[in-house]
Subunit: 240 residues, 2 copies
DNA sequence: TCCATGCTGGAATGGCGTTCCAGTCATGTC
DNA sequence: GACATGACTGGAACGCCATTCCAGCATGGA
């Protein structure tokens, strides 16, 4: 086995599109958006640029592949059937939507570069695999919610937009603001900055700044989801 | 006059931070995200890099300034008092929120680069002037809606997240997908792509693809806003 | 045995953001 | 009217980036 393996491979482990994308994700996670360079990639993979370009069209495609990989992983853990639930108590569509949303939220939280990447990727090529994947996952639950067919598209889109918008903007909050600040310091600094705004132009923002300090991102994200879900339920009563 | 003007200025019109930002916005509008280079900028302003760097810290700051300028302009047109309404019929907070949202939607529609820029800018530095500006504009109406103070932050954030998320993702749809396609062709291509997805994995998406074809972005965006607003009203009844 | 083909990585290219610096001009001072 | 000052300019250069080119390698089939 060892012989065959060694024979069929130039290096300890052959280069492949998978290995490249995996390394790219690791690099993005470790060093952020700007940390993914072909130099760093060739170094980490102990190879040259030509080898990478043989497996991958260009950097944009590599970023797209990284995005798709991470999103797919995030949606894969979703409790489609919830086989471990107490039996006879399947999750409601509402709970499932919350779970899917939270999965995406956490994926963006773990991979902060996803926020920007999704924004460019989704609007640039909605035919890619990532938009339909998210859309499908949410849409099935929207249908289960009892929303009439004519509104499926609108409702599912709205949900997706909220989820990606909110998760994206929260992402960097969690990871501190570029400097070495931790989350509390960062929140505190932002709240302080808000409190020093012009009292005339920013009455509301100043009045609300204190709520910024101790707030829990996840909790607030879910509260937003609930707002949208409640709106959906009110607009399309399940018994209609 | 001409003499004094000519005397006090090195060139026909002196370089200034304003002029630079203005040129940057024009360049971004005309040639897209990647079109803004210092080379193109120096050419358009008939100067050298050093002159630009005297007025501006670096490219990130320039992009931030461009973003702030455009957002400020978008929020400035909002009908704060609606002085031209039939008299005695002021806009409801709900209508005003719709108007503010639509203003942002159209700004992103006119300047597609705003979508990505807002995503990076907002999450990178929430203390900048753009987040508070939007937050304030929406928050005042949320308060007028009768939402209890304890929920101001959550509700306003949710609204902002939906607006920016939805507007951002719709932006590029409107401007065709990179190629020379117009809107209808683009929508059609996307719908066709969705209809060719795996029938098992994408039941919902395939079933809904046809709704993609003729849909109106603005209308759908507003429908989403209404969903959120309805959710807000249901969660916080005005008479409570 | 030898060649075709899939795959590799070092060297080179052109464009980018950014820096450096020698210079220019309006202005204040005497 | 001469001169020093300091805001402001723009050409040349630097280092890093994505991308391309190509001479070579290993391997499976003839």
């Amino acid at each position: 086995m060892a012989t065959r393996t060694r024979r069929s491979q130039r290096r300890t482990e052959a280069l492949s599109r998978e290995r490249i994308v995996e390394a790219a994700v690791e690099l993005l996670d470790a060093t952020g958006e700007g940390g993914l360079t072909f130099r760093a990639l060739t170094e980490r993979l102990a190879t040259g640029p030509g080898a990478i370009y043989w497996h991958v069209e260009n950097k944009d495609e590599l970023l797209g592949a990284a995005t798709e990989t991470v999103v797919a992983a995030a949606l894969a853990v979703e409790p489609t059937g919830a086989p471990d639930s107490p039996a006879g108590a399947p999750d409601s569509p509402r709970d499932e939507i919350r779970a899917v949303a939270l999965g995406l939220f956490e994926a963006i939280d773990e991979h902060p570069w996803l926020a920007t990447q999704l924004a460019t990727h989704l609007s640039r090529s909605p035919w890619g695999s990532v938009a339909p994947r998210i859309f499908e996952s949410l849409g099935r639950r929207v249908r289960a919610l009892g929303v009439p067919e004519g509104s499926w598209f609108v409702v599912t889109s709205a949900l997706m937009h909220y989820i990606l918008g909110a998760a994206g903007q929260n992402a960097a909050n969690a990871r501190a603001g570029g400097g070495g600040l931790d989350r509390d310091e960062f929140l505190d600094a932002t709240a302080a900055a808000w409190e020093e705004l012009d009292p005339d132009d920013y009455v509301f923002t100043r009045a609300v700044a204190y709520q910024m300090r101790g707030h829990d991102d996840r909790e607030q994200f879910l509260a937003g989801i609930d707002l949208v879900l409640t709106g959906i339920a009110a607009t399309h009563p399940p018994d209609a």
